[in-house]
């Protein structure tokens, strides 16, 4: 029986990232195999038996993937994706701030960017630190506003955090989820936080396999350090003792600057020496000195480690001091989260109860909810260089229209407001021409302006271009490229904020003229 190639859609994911874990089932739903779903890589499966089979997966985002196939006759199978049912997004104004620990304690850092925005969520990025810098790379991201409690996520520099407002219920706090930059780690941690321990084990085993297959880097960067730490947590949780001795060395060389590495080393030491707390003691004290660990559940492990040493050595004052320092953070930490998630007003004031503080001055502002109704001027907006654009459009054989950009996220620095993200406000006529459901969001990214277009028939989207017009009349256009169920165009852009409007180049509505 020939193998079957299982494929799936991994919109917007970097090839090689593990986006989830799948189960291969027979017609009785007998579990035959669990395997990781890797973006851009199909899975070759040899079932070795007759009878219809199923592949089923539930991603951390809530999307379900499913396909059935006949292992005898089918050679390729593509998993069908079903996103979670949409929920109405309620209007809410939010803010986000980054905190950095300096010699005088925690202070707002101002280095937080919005890299994506949807009606019900916003993506926040802590910029990466320069290559080679492995100290001072832990930040706290706090999200608040709308009368909701403002949790604080402890993350490594370079992380991308998704913030959503709760729909209902007792949890009147912003929900924060780790989504990057290492999607494989984020997938593993989100599965574990959601209680899907079987799926977490599949992704964790794959992460460990990849790390063990590669030689340790001489100059490990932040990403490698984070991967090593996340993999070591996985090994600690699954209790496989054999590889843990080697992992102690790996932690020391790759991630010694992360507090997580010290506390992991402490637990690995405990695992090796059942009745000897002395070796673990030094690691736990070191972890408590270094600051806040970043991986979800780590503060509880740190507290429990110190607590165990304290019970074995009640006379040990150093341990008592460390325990007292960690205790308020452990009491303020969420137990099930992909990141260390704290309650409190600011990082140096954690509290077991929720808090809804005022935002620091450097906070980024954003708005979630249904598309706002833009205030319209009596006349449609006119381009300063309208004649030039019409000429350009005529030469291109297409229609060029201006589209107003409605801000959805604004950064306030002192009195200065800078637009960080927005939505394109299509006029009714243009909206009809795009199919009636079109929507587009615009955000700053490292590459420039990222324009995400949804709700447009793929054939039409492939023929659309979006652009900017410079002060000298230069028209810069970019085509939309497919990215899952949306299409994305990236425009060169260096200004701090966003433009007031973009231009959209529409294809001729009749048959497309042939090129000569």
């Amino acid at each position: 029986m020939s193998p079957v190639e299982i494929g799936w859609e991994a919109a917007g994911q970097r090839p090689g990232d593990v986006i989830g874990a799948a189960e291969l089932l027979d017609e009785h739903l007998e579990l035959l195999e669990r395997f990781p779903l890797v973006a851009g890589v199909t899975r070759s499966i040899e079932v070795g038996r007759a009878g219809r089979c199923l592949v089923h997966a539930r991603l951390p985002s809530g999307t379900t993937l499913l396909a059935s196939f006949d292992p005898v006759s089918d050679r390729t199978v593509t998993l069908r994706a079903r996103p979670p049912r949409p929920r109405p997004a309620e209007p809410v104004a939010g803010w986000a701030a980054a905190w950095r620990r300096g010699p005088d304690g925690w202070a707002p850092s101002g280095d937080l960017g919005i890299v994506g925005s949807e009606p019900d969520r916003v993506l926040l990025e802590v910029p990466p630190v320069p290559s080679g810098v492995t100290t001072d790379a832990v930040r706290v991201v706090q999200v608040g506003g709308g009368g909701l409690a403002a949790p604080m996520a402890v993350v490594a520099a370079g992380s991308v955090v998704e913030a959503t407002a709760p729909q209902a219920g007792p949890e009147r706090a912003w929900r924060l989820r780790l989504v990057g930059p290492d999607a494989t780690c984020a997938t593993l941690l989100e599965y574990a936080a959601a209680g899907d321990l079987a799926a977490a084990a599949v992704v964790g085993d794959e992460l460990v396999r990849r790390i063990e297959a590669q030689p340790a880097s001489l100059a490990p960067d932040l990403g490698e350090a984070f991967r090593v730490v996340v993999a070591a947590y996985h090994l600690l949780r699954v209790g496989d003792e054999a590889p843990q001795d080697a992992w102690g060395e790996r932690l020391a060389s790759a991630a010694s600057w992360l507090p997580d590495a010290s506390l992991l080393a402490g637990w690995l030491a405990l695992a090796r020496s059942r009745d000897e707390p002395e070796s673990a003691r030094g690691h736990f004290l070191d972890a408590a000195r270094r600051g806040l660990p970043v991986v979800g559940g780590s503060l509880r492990l740190l507290f429990d480690g110190l607590w165990l040493v304290n019970r074995a050595r009640p006379w040990d004052e150093d341990v008592q001091v460390a325990l007292a320092r960690v205790r308020p953070y452990a009491a303020a930490a969420a137990m099930a989260a992909s990141m260390t998630l704290l309650r409190g007003r600011r990082p140096d004031r954690p509290s077991p109860g929720p808090a809804a503080p005022e935002p620091p001055g450097s906070a980024v502002r954003f708005f979630l909810g249904p598309r706002p109704v833009a205030r319209r001027s009596p006349e449609p907006p006119a381009l300063d260089l309208g004649t030039l654009l019409r000429d350009a459009a005529r030469r291109l054989g297409s229609t060029l229209v201006a589209v107003r950009l409605v801000p959805t996220a604004v950064r306030q620095t002192g009195a200065r407001m800078t637009v960080q993200a927005g939505r394109l406000d299509f006029e009714p006529g243009l909206l009809r021409r795009l199919g009636g459901d079109a929507q587009a969001s615009v955000a700053r990214s490292r590459a420039g302006l990222r324009v995400t277009l949804g709700g447009v028939e793929p054939g039409l989207a492939a023929r659309l271009q979006v652009g900017t017009v410079s002060g000298t009349g230069e028209l810069m256009l970019a085509r939309f490229e497919p990215a899952g169920r949306t299409t994305v165009a990236v425009l060169a852009w260096t200004d701090a904020g966003l433009p007031d409007q973009l231009v959209l180049l529409l294809p001729p509505s009749g048959p497309q003229p042939g090129r000569t």
Partner: protein, 383 residues
């Protein structure tokens, strides 16, 4: 004693400790309320005793003959809040066994016996269910009937849950089901630390690899129950143990440590969408490597929610579920409003929709009723 069932043998077994506390002597509404702000802020509970008895009954009735980890023993301590809550008896083997109250002294002795039995075989599974008040700081303190007896040492009669969990290292697998609020009363914030009792010395070889804790709520959230009835969590737990936490492996459906918590959380999450239901989120902490908690005698039922996209088409549709294995009609709905809710045996199905008035085009979709839930939408086009 609190031992209501004991067939401890030299094979791998399940040993359970089940505690339900609704009556709190020294809290608000109790026989002798304590003069303490935190004690005054907590009251009597109407459903923990009923829930604990239901979990114990499930174990005694359904788990004794389990082919892999049959029930070895049950330690049961229950303090009902009142006559509508639950009788302090349980039926075992045709006779009624009185159940002792969940005071600290009795629970401590029960933990000793439970721990001792769990250690007798490396394949044993430890099962803990607690329903009652819980308050959260760095650890969760489970409050027993005589909590706050001495305001000078308020937490003398409370159990440190996470310390107990750390101390259960000797077992191959342990599952802790914590059906309690994790509230943070304002008076608790004024305390520098909470000294609940650990009960077990926890010096061991790291976090247990197969020992999830399934909490009924998130931090500073409340758990809910109907007075005299089951808590939402107990209902979800029993459904998970009946099959929603199962996978089919080696020819049988098995509830495992790495699935049961997710099933409890999913049952609660779907229940949250029923109008009027108090919202509650379960959380799973720790790790599970798939140790078997229960082998089901048959194929589990799986709840489903099916509909059409757009939603307007759902009301106009006749809907059918046809089993793909044998082509039999598993269920159908020829009229109704809103999503189609029901339950079918786990399996793969052809979901067919037909529009009598022909306002939409008929459609079909392959779906799989796979524990814990089937939830799907069939996109249809206007005719």
């Amino acid at each position: 004693v609190t031992t209501v069932f004991d067939r401890t043998d030299g094979v791998a077994q399940t040993h359970a400790l089940v505690i339900g506390v609704g009556r709190y002597r020294h809290l608000h509404g109790g026989a002798r309320p304590a003069d303490d702000a935190m004690a005054r802020s907590l009251g009597q509970l109407g459903s923990p005793a009923t829930s604990a008895l239901a979990v114990a009954r499930f174990l005694v009735d359904e788990h004794v003959t389990d082919p892999e980890v049959p029930l070895g023993s049950v330690e049961l301590a229950v303090s009902p809040a009142g006559p509508v809550d639950a009788a302090s008896e349980i039926e075992v083997g045709g006779g009624r066994v009185p159940v002792e109250p969940a005071t600290f002294a009795r629970v401590r002795d029960a933990v000793d016996r439970w721990f001792s039995r769990c250690q007798r075989h490396t394949g044993n599974v430890a099962f803990l269910y607690f329903s009652g008040h819980g308050v959260a700081r760095e650890h969760v303190a489970l409050l027993l009937e005589d909590f706050a007896e001495r305001p000078q040492e308020l937490f003398e009669h409370a159990v440190d849950l996470e310390a107990l969990h750390l101390g259960m290292a000797a077992c191959r697998a342990s599952t802790h089901f914590v059906d309690a609020c994790r509230s943070v009363p304002p008076a608790l914030l004024e305390r520098r630390e909470v000294r609940a009792r650990a009960l077990l010395d926890g010096w061991h070889r790291g976090p247990r690899p197969d020992a999830p804790i399934v909490y009924a709520t998130g931090h500073d959230e409340k758990a809910f129950g109907r007075p005299g009835g089951l808590t939402r969590y107990a209902d979800a737990l029993l459904r998970a143990l009946h099959g929603l936490g199962a996978r089919r492996e080696k020819g049988a459906w098995r509830v495992t440590t790495d699935q049961v918590g997710l099933a409890v959380a999913e049952v609660l999450r779907h229940g949250n969408e029923v109008p009027g239901t108090p919202v509650q989120h379960a959380q799973v902490v720790g790790s599970g490597r798939g140790s078997v908690l229960r082998v089901l005698p048959g194929v589990p039922g799986v709840p489903f929610r099916l509909g059409c996209d757009p939603a307007a088409a759902t009301d106009a549709a006749s809907m059918r579920l046809i089993a793909l294995r044998d082509g039999r009609l598993a269920d159908h709905r020829d009229g109704g409003s809103g999503d189609w809710l029901g339950e079918v045996a786990a399996g793969a199905y052809d979901f067919q929709v037909h529009f009598e008035r022909r306002d939409f085009r008929d459609g079909r979709l392959e779906v799989v009723a796979y524990p814990p839930w089937l939830d799907d939408l069939l996109p249809v086009e206007p005719a």
